[in-house]
Symmetry: C2
Amino acid sequence: MTKQKATNVTWQDGEVSREDRYNILRQRGATIWFTGLSGSGKSTIAIALERALYDIGKLSYRLDGDNVRLGINKNLGFSEADRTENIRRIGEVAKLFGDAGIISLSSFISPYKDDRDEVRQLHDQAGLEFIEVFVDCSLAEAEKRDPKGLYKKARAGEIKNFTGIDAPYEAPVNPEIHLKTDEMTVAQEVQIVLDHLHHNGFIMQPQYTRAGDRTSAASQ
Amino acid sequence: MTKQKATNVTWQDGEVSREDRYNILRQRGATIWFTGLSGSGKSTIAIALERALYDIGKLSYRLDGDNVRLGINKNLGFSEADRTENIRRIGEVAKLFGDAGIISLSSFISPYKDDRDEVRQLHDQAGLEFIEVFVDCSLAEAEKRDPKGLYKKARAGEIKNFTGIDAPYEAPVNPEIHLKTDEMTVAQEVQIVLDHLHHNGFIMQPQYTRAGDRTSAASQ
């Protein structure tokens, strides 16, 4: 665990609780953490899930390996230490989002088990849900797809420390959800995650409905 | 501006836009950035504003100097470089929150004009609103309150680089909102910020209402 550096810091309680925020949104915050090889389809599933959640009026937000790198983790590279710090910071951001009430969709290769476990632990300590989704795709298939041409560059030695080529990918041992992407469509994958959210109470029913309401709604 | 370190990164568009998220929430995301001396009342106002927003069914989230230090910025201290990185990361987090649709309430001393301006610029570039609120309290008054006993420690030399004592506070030149806390109650201060949000369209009316509805609501 990263050591706490600053002293003289304490948590300041407010008057609005996490549960209050969840009630405004009629959903529970959660971190859905997609992990898998580059090209395995993490972002594709996240984008489709974001859309499916939107279609039922639920608020999610994608934290993406690419877009986070352009912001909060701008000053990090791809060394092992930087990858670890990259995942740690994203885990902390996801935790804040979950506390705020949002279902965050993180799609990062996140190849190291210890890093993912640290994020899980951060969530556990905060009483927040960490849903690890193993986007399981064979290296052969991911390399065949190679949507960004990165495997080609890695094979040519133009990119170093590339997961699956010259850096390890440590598969999840006991993820909440295991998607075997070679055998499923994106729609099926999304449905599995949605079912998990429904069955585990992350998506609440509207506070009240009326006969004939097409959209149902809640506030306060 | 912090240099972009990682290469091979691009933004991946989704199917759900920022406006779509704003519509789910019936509000526009924004960053309300309270700046001022330690003890000036930043957190107190943020807590009261959070409550006032909740009371009208709006979702906000407090990013607090203390609680962020325990998480995302755990590995930062109080040197000038660390303070700058502290503010930069918080600015990036606030930006993500604003993009997600949340009204984030940041209360940090954030003593350096350049740091605040960098956060403003991050928001401008992303088309997001940065509302700088100068929580203006005289040093004498802040030191008299000294709610955490920090001024006493700073005067005794037990804390170094303490803003207002042996480190500078650079007051905002042209903040969106200037709260003279010596002359106002917290309720008045909150009302000024709420009025600003109303007048600038951050708080949308419910999508539909019916006669007799106490709470009005929206989804999709």
